[in-house]
Amino acid sequence: MIKIKIKCFSQVKYALGKKELVLVLKSGTTTQEVEKLIRKKANRNLDIVSFSVAVNKKYISKSLVLNDGDEVAFIPPVQGG
C-alpha cells in the first residue's frame, strides 16, 4: 500500500470542500486512476473541468505510477494575471 497527498485548488477545492486529502491506495496506482477517483468523489461537479496534473510540484505529461509519499495536484485551468 502507498499513502499519497492530494492538494486541492480552485474548483477542485470548491467541489470537494477540502484543501487536501490523504489517500491510502494499493501499490501501482496511477495518476489517471486517482483522477477518476477524485472526479467520482466530486459527484459530477468536476465533469466539465479539465486538469493538468502535477506530481511533487512538477507538471507531468502522461499518467505515471505513484510512489509512497507523493504529492499530487489535479490542476484546473490556471488564472494568474
Binding site: 492538494k7 485548488f9 480552485s10 474548483q11 477545492k13 470548491y14 502535477a54 510540484k57 512538477k58 507538471y59 495536484a73 490542476i75 484546473p76 485551468p77 490556471v78 488564472q79 494568474g80 494575471g81
Partner: protein
Amino acid sequence: MVKVEIINGPIDFFPLNDNRDQDGAEIVFNGRVRAAEYDKIITALEYEQYEDMAESELKKVAEKTVKKFVIHDLFCKHRIGKVKVGQSSLHVVIRSKHRKEGFIAMNYFISALKDRVPIWKWAILEDGTKIPSDCTSS
C-alpha cells in the same frame, strides 16, 4: 536578468531606471482587478497559489521569455491573497533595445503565465460569498 516574486500584500513597484544606456525601451504592465467578473459585481479577487510550484513555474516562464526574445530584463511581481478592485495584482517590467521586441515579449510572457503558473482567482461577491471565478456565471 530575471526577477520574479510572489507576494502576499500590496505591490512595491520596480523603480524606473534612467541609467540604462543600452535599452531604448522600458515597458511596464500593471494588471488590475476589474469591478466585474463574468458579469457579476465583485469587491475583490482572492488569488490562490500552489505554494513553491507557482513561483518555480513563474521563473521558468520568465527565463524562457528572456531566451526566446531579444530583451535584457524581465521583472515580475504577482500578488496572492485578497486584492481589492482597482488594485494591481500583476506588475511586469521588460527592458529591451527596441520597443517592438519588448512588446512582443510582454505579450508572450503574460500569455504563458496565464497558461502555466498555478495561480487561481476566487471572486468575492458583494454579499461576501467567495467562489472560484469560473463559477461566477453559474
